[in-house]
Amino acid sequence: MGFKEFMGVITAPRTLAAYKLSFTTAFLSALINAVFGLIVAWVLVRYSFPGKRIVDALVDFPLALPTAVAGIALTELYTPTGWVGQYLGVLGIKAAFTPLGITIALTFIGLPFVVRTIQPVLEDMDPQIEEAAASLGANRWQTVSKIILPVIFPALLTGVTLAFARAIGEYGSVIFIAGNMPMKTEIVPLLIMTKLEQYDYTGATAIAIGMLVISFVLLATANFFQWLTSRNLGKA
């Protein structure tokens, strides 16, 4: 395969659609996890409530569950007749077999990465620094934006990057809920599988290389910012 054919494969409309879908859903799910993961980690570190240990253990659940099981379960929940899907249907929202469904699945499997990377940093953070900021006249927003976020940001970025990386490569939990319609809900890993099943090994490899390059650039950028924001924090 020459360069021309290679470019032809990775710029085919179906491939581009798959790239776009994979990276946007992975990115969106990582962003959602940044917010939810931060909230979950914060609650687990700062509050005590009955059943806290159980909730803490449940955070790892998506890691332990076989991804196919997660995919089938999520599909069941979000189909128009499912437990969650029927209420979304009332609101006119279709989750299963749409990019939204893919994002939901990716959010589910990515959450533990964000929670588990932020948790130790929050535990390590002395609650007295918030009191100190308040005693110096900072309001709540200033305390969060100037004191808390800068300290946890590198960890948050690491967690989000991990969740994003996992989401890009995710296969098992997505293919059931995605519907897998070419051009609409076909993710890159599935496209690669399809090519393989059609004995188009070079095509599959070309798409994989494209994926690899984009992922590498994104992760390297994230790592650079992680380094940039953490170099002033000193020894942990």
């Binding site: 002395d126 007295q128 100190a132 110096l136 006249g137 900072a138 309001n139 100037k146 800068p150």
Partner: protein, 362 residues
């Protein structure tokens, strides 16, 4: 340098605070005068830090009133009260330079009242100069020693021009040598600027050395409030007495103006003759007299240990009944009597710190 604005008095009236069933503050009433340097002294769990946090407005309380210059401060936050708080573990912002840490209180001011960048810069450098650490402006907190962090935390609290400075165990986690230096520095700083200062400590020596007035606390109550001299020499009870330094205590019977311990009847200076009664006798290590000559009004004891290393000589004695006594004499006295380990001596009383009558059991 104008660190201080206007006079301030703080008054607590019957303040109560509970954590569950635990009484952290039990009916605390206290008036803090403008410009004084006050120590809250007590063992851990005595409520001293809670009291400081209540004054700062960092912790709520259950009952009572906290007045700042006569006005109820319950709904005022820490900085609205004009309070600068220095936390026990400094609570410096680790992602900010020393400069930014100190400037924080000025940088978070609303734009209308915030000084210009140049003014902030000048103010921060002035404070760094005050704590003698100008050369650390661009460092990060984790690059500093404990004593340096402590002084930066102090400078940061001073940046917002507080009317009262509250310090929670300010020297608690420092080396002995650094503690001593900072202690002296705090005293000098206070003498220069007269900013009302309250600090919490469990170290009696620190309180006696630094403070104008000491509040001794135990189990959420104020036990005694007074000058260091007053608290040390006229303790209101045996708790204050034993908390403010080493003390020996004896069970005795008071008979005809003497304290009978075992077979000896010790003369107690200043004790009037009264009906026989059981009592507890508290004697500071320096209130004994040691002699080699027998006297019926002295306790017989064996020298267990003599430690002449120090400004005073510390001697451990053991009486016939097996009680340990700690005695301090001057180096000169040691030269005169030349006692050694295992020698027999006679101990009499020069003075007594405190006498506690015990109800006779029928």
């Amino acid at each position: 340098m104008g660190l201080r604005e206007g006079a301030l008095s703080i008054e607590l009236k019957h303040v109560h605070k509970k954590f569950g069933d635990f009484k952290a503050l039990d009916d605390v009433s206290l008036k803090i005068e403008d410009g004084e340097l006050l120590a809250l002294l007590g063992p851990s769990g005595s409520g001293k830090t809670t009291l400081l946090r209540v004054v700062a407005g960092l912790d709520p309380f259950d009952e009572g009133q906290v007045l700042f210059s006569g006005r109820d401060a319950e709904n005022q936050k820490t900085h609205q009260r004009g309070v600068g708080f220095v936390f026990q573990h400094y609570a410096l912002f680790r992602h900010m330079t020393v400069f930014d840490n100190i400037a924080f209180g000025l940088n978070v001011l609303p734009r209308k009242t915030r000084p210009s960048r140049d003014q902030i810069r000048a103010k921060v450098m002035e404070l760094l100069n005050l704590v003698q650490l100008e050369w650390l402006a661009d460092r990060f907190p984790w690059q500093l020693s404990g004593g340096q962090r402590q002084r930066i935390a102090l400078a940061r609290a001073l940046a917002v021009r507080p009317q009262v400075l509250l310090l929670d165990e300010p020297f608690g986690s420092l080396d002995a040598q650094v503690r001593k230096e900072l202690r002296a520095w705090l005293r000098r700083f206070h003498d220069e600027f007269h900013i009302t200062t309250i600090f919490v400590t469990h170290d009696q020596e620190e309180a006696l050395e630094v403070a104008d007035r000491i509040v001794v606390m135990n189990k959420g109550k104020l036990i005694q409030v007074g000058t260091p001299e007053d608290v040390f020499h006229n303790p209101v009870n045996s708790f204050v007495l034993s908390f403010l330094g080493n003390v020996n205590f004896f069970h005795c019977r008071l008979e005809e103006g003497k304290a009978v311990i075992g077979e000896s009847a010790l003369e107690v200076p200043g004790l009037s003759v009264q009906r026989p009664q059981a009592a507890k006798l508290y004697v500071r290590p320096n209130q004994f007299k040691i002699s080699r000559v027998f006297s019926p009004s002295a306790l017989k004891a064996i020298v267990e240990y003599v430690n002449p290393a120090g400004t005073v000589v510390k001697i451990n004695l053991k009486t016939e009944s097996g009680q340990q006594i700690l005695v301090e004499i001057t180096q000169e006295e040691l030269k005169n009597i030349k006692i050694k380990k295992h020698e027999k001596v006679y101990v009499s009383l020069k003075d007594v710190s405190y006498l506690e009558y015990v109800q006779d059991n029928p």
